[in-house]
């Protein structure tokens, strides 16, 4: 991964962004945070509706139709801005423990979002009347809050990866 990151940092797009990093990195990082805000906001609306704490004037499917596309759009924005950040600073991103742990959390979150989205469309009635009352569903919904928290913390820790000690490849380099 170290070699790949170093090779990536010599490619033309990476070099271009390194030359203009003074403004490009903060702007792309800010877009990434705007994406995080939009994703968290949308996911929060869906999760709080599943828990029955917010937006109970709308059905689960209506809530999904309102916020699902915004959540998906935000995830695409996060993917695009995240990829740009990796290309701009490959070593800073790829040679860290925080980045890969964050990616594992992101993959888990994406699976949860896609699974829920499909399930609520296919089993609307069951979700509305049965699933929503299951303790497992409620606990899983609460756990998504924890997962979002982990994703945000790990994203910030990319800048502080040395705190992981021997787990961080950066400290071995």
């Amino acid at each position: 991964m170290n070699n790949f990151a170093e090779w990536l940092s010599t490619t033309a797009p990476s070099v271009y962004m390194q030359i203009h990093e003074a403004w490009m990195i903060p702007v792309i990082q800010s877009l990434h945070i705007v994406g995080i805000g939009t994703a968290v906001g949308s996911a929060l609306m869906i999760a709080l509706r599943v828990l029955g704490w917010v937006g109970t004037d709308q059905s689960l499917l209506e809530t999904q139709r309102r916020f699902g596309p915004w959540l998906a759009g935000a995830l695409y924005l996060l993917l695009a801005s995240g990829l740009l950040l990796v290309v701009a600073e490959p070593v800073r991103e790829l040679v860290t423990f925080s980045f890969w742990l964050k990616m594992a959390c992101v993959a888990t979150m994406t699976m949860i979002v896609v699974t829920y989205q499909r399930s609520v469309k296919q089993h609307e009635i069951e979700w509305e009347h049965t699933f929503i009352r299951r303790p497992g569903v409620r606990v899983a919904t609460l756990l998504t809050f924890v997962l979002w928290g982990c994703i945000i913390i790990l994203g910030r820790l990319i800048a502080y990866d040395h705190i992981w000690g021997h787990l961080s490849p950066a400290t071995k380099a």
């Binding site: 945070i33 705007v34 805000g37 906001g41 937006g55 994203g155 820790l157 040395h162």
Partner: protein, 199 residues
């Protein structure tokens, strides 16, 4: 009272010294700040898009705003607390940082913008609560609100890039890591004056 002396006093407070001497507190505060900000931004945009008539056009505005703005204010309080504590760790540098000053002005304008909304469209909300969008002034302030918050995020991120190492001369950055933490044998110097490099 002399502002610089007061800012220096903040930096010398037990809280600020404690955070600077730890490898973990500052990144933790930053992470909580971003989490709170994500909730503030996310919920404000949901309400603004409703007022603009772009999304949730058929839901009563008052229902959405009363449900969501409680969450917004709670998260805003968390972001103010974490932001204030981070400020104390390097108060003189932040106070003189242009991006920080811009962020504070944008926050103030966002507050005024919100007050304008409440005093204009907010007063007539009974008339347009079920309508697809707020009246003109309400849509204007809702649009401005989204723009201002994107600006606040950008200014906040620039702070991290323009204050890094500003006090590096005073003390070495903290060394030590999670291994030291587990082994309970910190290799860092007792009280570095510089918070961990935020970028």
């Amino acid at each position: 009272m002399d502002l610089t002396a007061w800012l220096k006093g903040l930096e010398d407070s037990g809280l600020a010294v404690g955070i600077r001497s730890s490898l973990y507190y500052f990144p933790f505060l930053e992470s909580v700040h971003v989490m709170a900000l994500a909730v503030v931004f996310g919920t404000i945009v949901v309400v603004d898009l409703r007022a603009l008539g772009i999304a949730s056009r058929h839901r009563p505005f008052t229902r959405m705003s009363s449900e969501l703005l409680k969450i917004t204010w709670g998260a805003f309080l968390v972001s103010v607390l974490t932001g204030t504590v981070m400020f104390t760790t390097n108060a003189r540098v932040y106070a003189h940082n242009t991006a920080f000053q811009v962020k504070m002005v944008l926050l103030l304008i966002a507050g005024i913008n919100m007050a304008v909304f409440h005093l204009s469209a907010g007063r007539t909300v009974a008339r347009w609560d079920q309508a697809p969008a707020a009246p003109g002034i309400g849509r204007l302030t809702a649009g401005l609100s989204i723009g201002l918050w994107v600006g606040i995020i950008l200014a906040g991120r620039v702070i991290g890039f323009t204050t890094t190492g500003a006090q590096a001369k005073e003390a070495p950055p903290p060394a030590g890591n999670f291994d030291d933490f587990l082994n309970n044998s910190p290799s860092s110097s007792p009280a570095p004056a510089q918070p961990p490099t935020p970028q």
